[in-house]
């Protein structure tokens, strides 16, 4: 390595630092993780894209499949349907979430933590579950189907309600964040100028959260357009893009057309992703470090109004869950309402029985453990590594990409890539490993961002100091970086665990008879008409995810109190 290239004093080529053993080790590691992302993400997507240009014999046909697609009215109709669902869901969810976020940040109503916790519940259940609840509530034998005034729940109405339930927490988190960074001084100034409450709302509050609202809108739109659980369960004959992929692939084994629909579905998701990234940057710029946090003033009428509103939203969410639990326990709805556990005999149903529940826990555990290691190590190497600029840039891009890839698309891409007999990785197909890999990849971006944020908050000089003290990087990583980032590491692992429990979309194409999953079992039991056991399994997922969340909370509290002595400094 030593040679003319960095002879001092030579003009022309700039000097390059001689690599230390640390540099070499870090480059090796980052290369390994980058290769992982290429294999788990870039290659499959590429193969899927090329499949969309092939016929079923593997011959290249150019845009033939696309032409066929756009000449099939029922398929094109799905685009309209998807956009319609996305648009309506976005309007409703963002409105509901905004008012709730407003109540949680700008009122003095009691019970805020409780309402916030309840609003987060939908994250803990598969998106199939609200659909099942809606059948019990508004189906032909629904408990309160009179409320629909003769309208049919199977179709757009049902899908939208289910999607609102499913997307609400995602929108809420974003808008609460946007509302919390408000600067009290702006409000004081507006009040001093004697602006009326509505005027303040429209001139100060709304402009302040506009990026948050845009961001929330795009997140909700993407989620509702790419979600497949709700339309599958409650959509009836109202076809959308996500169900079309499933139908083409699972129903008709028409993989090429599935690839075409996938490419079409990538468009709105990709667009939403780009807009969200732009808006995120602006939102950060809006953040003023010197902002004074806003303390809401008590206002009896406003506070009770917000309280009533929050209660209604909570009833909606808890009601959905309650109905599912009720359905799971009722022996034979609607003719025999006595309670029992007969619907928990999953072994007598489609979907893999109790094994699938334990498979899910196994899969979620592996995903949490290995995913956290891969994601955190990857983020660390990108942040702290030296050299390999282009590879780090590519890595960063690959890490952000999964957010724009709907799970169904990823799953289908995996079939193409991993099930090809010529792929040396073919042995992974139909294994637990491929489920874990696909789930880690599917939820990579948010985990990566969490890790990156935590790492950025650390003093960037730690590594320099450690190097001057002649300490290998891994020692500082293990003794300082990991302990300081423990809360973020826990967050990542819990995020991965919960999502691995609830996800259906990517894994629905990848499970095998040995590796059936609980969430897929919900889908398959519903498909076979065993809706009560489907509800029962859905609730098992909820209880598991909720249990893990509670465990996480207790663990975090424990760590917080044990490390309080030094953690103050990190917070500052």
């Amino acid at each position: 390595m030593a040679g003319a290239s960095y002879l001092s004093g030579t003009r022309g080529s700039p000097l390059r630092r001689k690599s230390s053993s640390d540099d070499r080790a870090m480059r090796l590691f980052i290369l390994v993780i980058a290769i992982y992302l290429v294999i788990a993400l870039a290659f499959p997507l590429y193969v899927m894209f090329s499949k969309s240009l092939e016929n079923s014999q593997g011959g290249f046909v150019g845009l033939q499949n696309y032409l066929e697609y756009f000449n099939t009215p029922s398929l094109v109709y799905s685009i309209q349907n998807s956009l319609f669902i996305g648009f309506v869901t976005t309007c409703i969810t963002v409105t509901i979430a905004f008012v709730l976020a407003y109540a949680l940040t700008r009122s003095r109503m009691p019970g805020k933590p409780v309402f916030k916790t309840i609003a987060m519940i939908p994250i803990l259940v598969p998106s199939l579950l609200p659909g099942i609840a809606l059948i019990y509530l508004f189906g032909r034998q629904g408990l309160i189907n009179e409320l629909l005034f003769g309208h049919e729940i199977y179709g757009p109405i049902g899908i939208v309600i289910a999607e609102v339930f499913f997307t609400l927490p995602h929108a809420l988190i974003i808008i609460i964040t946007a509302l919390s960074i408000a600067d009290a001084r702006l409000y004081e100034a507006a009040t001093a100028l004697r602006a009326s409450r509505p005027r303040i709302f429209f001139t100060v509050t709304l402009p302040g959260v506009r990026y948050g609202l845009i961001s929330a809108a795009f997140v909700v739109f993407t989620l509702s357009v790419t979600d497949f659980g709700a339309p599958k369960v409650i959509g009836g004959d109202f076809n959308v893009l996500a169900t079309d992929i499933y139908k083409q692939v699972i129903g008709q084994q028409n993989f090429e057309m599935g690839a075409v629909v996938s490419m079409v579905l990538l468009l709105p998701a990709g667009l939403a992703f780009v807009v969200d990234r732009i808006v995120q940057k602006k939102q950060v710029a809006l953040l003023s470090a010197r902002a004074v946090p806003l303390e809401p003033l008590p206002n009896k009428r406003f506070d009770s109004l917000m309280l009533v509103y929050s209660i209604i939203i909570s009833i909606f969410i808890l009601g959905i869950l309650g109905v599912c639990q009720f359905a799971a326990l009722v022996k034979f709805f609607p003719y025999n309402l006595s309670l029992g556990f007969s619907n928990y005999q999953f072994d007598l149903m489609d979907g893999g029985g109790w094994d699938s529940y334990f498979n899910s826990i196994e899969m979620a555990s592996y995903t949490a453990v290995f995913g956290t290691i891969i994601v955190f190590a990857g983020a660390y190497l990108v942040e702290k590594g030296q050299g390999l600029g282009p590879i780090r840039g590519a890595f960063q891009f690959l890490a952000m990409l999964p957010m724009a890839i709907p799970g169904l698309v990823l799953g289908l891409a995996y079939i193409f890539f991993f099930n090809s007999p010529s792929n040396p990785l073919n042995f992974l197909y139909h294994t637990m490993t491929i489920l874990v890999i696909s789930t880690i990849t599917h939820f990579y971006t948010v985990s990566h961002l969490t890790a990156t944020t935590a790492l950025k908050q650390m003093d960037s000089q730690f590594e320099s100091v450690a190097a001057s003290l002649k300490q290998p990087f891994y020692r500082t990583f293990l003794r300082v970086t990991v302990p300081v980032c423990t809360p973020a590491i826990l967050d990542i692992s819990i995020y991965l665990f919960v999502n691995a429990m609830t996800t259906v979309s990517a894994v629905v194409f990848l499970y095998s008879p040995h590796t059936t999953l609980a969430s897929v079992a919900v889908l398959n039991m519903d498909d076979a008409g065993d809706i009560a056991p489907a509800a029962a399994m859905g609730m098992m997922i909820f209880y598991t995810a909720a249990g893990v969340k509670i465990l996480h909370y207790l663990l975090s509290r424990g760590i917080e109190s044990r490390t309080q002595a030094w953690r103050v400094a990190v917070a500052n």
Binding site: S74, Y246, F358, E362, H430, H514
Partner: protein, 343 residues
């Protein structure tokens, strides 16, 4: 697999267990594709393992159409060793594609002549007949003042509009045997005309053949076109159901068994197929199905309509298999708009 999850302590052990957690315990594992009702799978495997504990069955279950499509899609790179419990029409299709390994199992002679492939040695052997039937929810039909239907043609009456569900033949074997039987009974033209009328009354087409009956059992629809076995099961579970055998006659298909050509586990596959035609196996089929491969062993099944053998039409499986693709395409073109996703 539960043990491997809870037993894992260190990350290293987890890494080793990663992907290896499903290590083989039995001497041989067979991947068996099936469309047999989910609730029977454990029983089938358990009974088989009473005699052959050294062969482990890994089931891949889905509805008939899906399993068929899956097998066809995997033609170049088959993942199944044995097919146990798939419609004979589907197996005929695969026989035509050269995907089956012809084999004359021990005990072939005991089977009813209808219950085997005509070639010698046969490519497939039958297990039981599964027959179409109509599940009517008595509570719902009372509520809506629906008369009890007695024939297929009855179902086209305007009074039933929006009250009927049936399986999509593209994904469901039951759906296909309905359609192919109507085409055989009413003739090609009459059959489509009947279906056009029926389509007017259909609320939705389901992906699964049993779902219409399960929905009728729950009252989600009043009438579900399904199959007799499912109706009997739901009735036994306490559903207010009447299982109707339409007067024109009913379509039926056989659940049958075959070895997938190219399997690396031919010996174990043969053992399984031998067992699948045994008397013990036939008695097991008889627990759910009234018409089985060794008919002399058959005993009546609870809640099953009694006139089934007489109502079964003279089904031309070869015709159905040969025309399957055309029929499905035509059906898709005419009626797909009312299908659930996944059809």
């Amino acid at each position: 697999m539960k043990n491997s999850f809870f037993g894992v302590r260190s990350g290293l052990a987890a890494a080793l267990a990663f992907g290896l957690s499903h290590a083989t315990f039995a001497a041989t594992e067979l991947t068996v594709y099936t469309a047999v009702e989910a609730e029977d799978l454990k029983k089938y495997a358990a009974r088989f393992n009473e005699d052959h504990p050294d062969i482990k069955i890994n089931w891949v279950r889905d509805s008939t159409g899906i399993v068929t499509a899956k097998l066809l899609a995997e033609k170049e790179n088959p993942r199944a060793d044995v097919i146990w419990g798939l419609a004979a029409t589907s197996l005929l299709l695969m026989k035509g594609e050269g995907m089956l390994h012809a084999y004359a199992p021990n005990g072939l002679d005991g089977l009813d002549s209808k219950f085997r492939d005509k070639s010698n040695p046969p490519s497939w052997t039958g297990m039981d007949a599964w027959v179409a039937a109509v599940c009517v929810n008595t509570v719902e039909s009372d509520k809506h003042n629906l008369p009890m239907p007695a024939s297929w043609k009855d179902l086209t009456k305007p009074v039933y509009k929006g009250h009927v569900a049936m399986p999509n033949p593209n994904s469901s074997g039951t759906g296909f045997l309905d359609v192919s039987s109507w085409l055989q009974m009413f003739g090609e033209e009459g059959g489509w005309a009947f279906m056009d009328q029926l389509h007017q009354n259909i609320d939705h087409y389901t992906h699964s053949g049993s779902k219409p009956c399960k929905q009728a059992a729950r009252g989600e629809v009043a009438i579900g076109v399904s199959f007799a076995f499912r109706g009997a099961k739901s009735k036994a579970a306490g559903a207010p159901l009447e299982v109707i055998i339409p007067s024109e006659g009913i379509g039926w298909d056989m659940e049958a068994t075959a070895i997938v050509a190219g399997t690396k586990k031919l010996d174990a596959a043969k053992t399984l197929v031998d067992w699948s035609v045994s008397e013990k196996a036939n008695k097991m089929y008889n627990e759910g199905y009234a018409v089985i491969g060794i008919q002399r062993l058959a005993k009546p099944v609870e809640h099953f309509p009694e006139n089934i053998p007489q109502a079964m039409i003279d089904n031309d499986f070869e015709w159905a298999a040969q025309n399957r693709k055309r029929i499905l395409a035509e059906w898709q073109k005419r009626y797909d708009s009312k299908s659930e996703p996944k059809s």
